[in-house]
């Protein structure tokens, strides 16, 4: 019976850790996506400028 109750404790603590891990990682992933989008946009803009500069 004690073992079963310890499993309940383990499940509750695992859930706590899981939710906090999500809370920590979600904005970090969002920031990484934001940075990647900025880099890709600047590359596109640069390519467009280069293409416009090479036109006769």
């Amino acid at each position: 019976m004690q073992v079963v109750k310890i499993d309940y404790v383990g499940a509750a603590y695992a859930l706590f850790a899981l939710v906090l891990a999500w809370d920590y990682l979600a904005p970090r992933l969002r920031l990484a996506r934001f940075k990647r989008d900025r880099v890709l946009r600047s590359r596109r803009d640069q390519a467009r400028r280069d293409a416009a500069g090479n036109r006769p």
Binding site: L15, F16, V19, L31, F34
Partner: protein, 252 residues
């Protein structure tokens, strides 16, 4: 100008807030992790099992701080929402909306950990008790704020609409808190009091205080982190964002 007001005005500008958040987020998370590690170690290995509930009482060391945070964060969110609605301060709109997912996370932990505790103690995962039901309504309010904010394309109009819901939802906070006093509930009454003697033995109290401090610091870190990303997204295209990201990439 008053130094405090001056500090608020300076920190409230988007570039200054970005620097402030980038600087203090790691510190807040560090304090949170140390406090949580101490508290959870005490809760799992130092504190003796309860003479009635046995081992399952250890769940309260995450359930109670999470429940406190679920209410505290809603109050913070509503306060920011009122400031955003009255004075139209953009940073307060961002801070209010950044509170919602963190509050929802803590409310989810409260409901799920309470449910896991309820099975061995009450013999059921769930009952429509006033405290449990009002806490579930709190989760729906958080989800409502998140949903409303994401349903409107204009970020500032979305923040104002969601801020209204946050202010209206504030009425649920005292209902959750006083549910155990106002109605005859299955949920136990107040055990820990800030003023006056608590019903909990002091030998069992210290891990709870450590986890409570840890969750508060976690909220600060998470709020700064989330608000920083939202601030950058809304200010994209501005020169300072390029400089901040350039600096960040050089640091990486």
């Amino acid at each position: 100008m008053n130094r405090l007001i001056l500090w608020f005005n300076q920190t409230g500008s988007p570039p200054n807030f970005d620097r402030f958040a980038a600087r203090w987020t790691p510190w807040a998370f560090a304090i949170a992790l140390v406090s949580l590690a101490i508290g959870l170690y005490g809760a799992l290995f130092e504190v003796p099992a309860d003479y009635k509930q046995g081992e399952s009482f250890r769940i309260l060391y995450i359930h109670v701080p999470a429940a406190w945070m679920s209410l505290f964060i809603f109050v913070v969110m509503a306060a920011q929402a009122i400031i955003a609605l009255v004075w139209r301060i953009k940073l307060c709109e961002i801070l209010a909306m950044a509170c919602a997912p963190i509050g929802a996370a803590f409310t989810l932990i409260t409901l799920a950990s309470g449910s896991i505790w309820g099975k061995p103690t009450w013999g059921t995962w769930w009952t429509w008790d006033p405290r449990l039901t009002s806490e579930l309504v709190l989760l729906f309010l958080y989800l409502g704020v998140i949903g409303l904010y994401n349903a409107i394309e204009d970020r500032r109009a979305a923040a104002r609409a969601a801020a209204f819901l946050a202010v209206i939802g504030l009425v649920n906070v005292p209902i959750v808190h006083f549910a155990v006093n106002w109605w005859n509930t299955l949920h136990q009454g107040e055990t820990i009091r800030l003023i006056g003697p608590s019903k909990m033995d002091p030998s069992m109290m210290w891990p709870l205080l450590a986890t409570a401090l840890g969750t508060k610091a976690w909220f600060v870190g998470s709020l700064l982190q989330r608000a920083r990303v939202m601030n950058l997204e809304q200010e994209t295209g501005k020169a300072w964002v390029g400089q901040a990201m350039g600096d960040a990439s050089r640091e990486d």
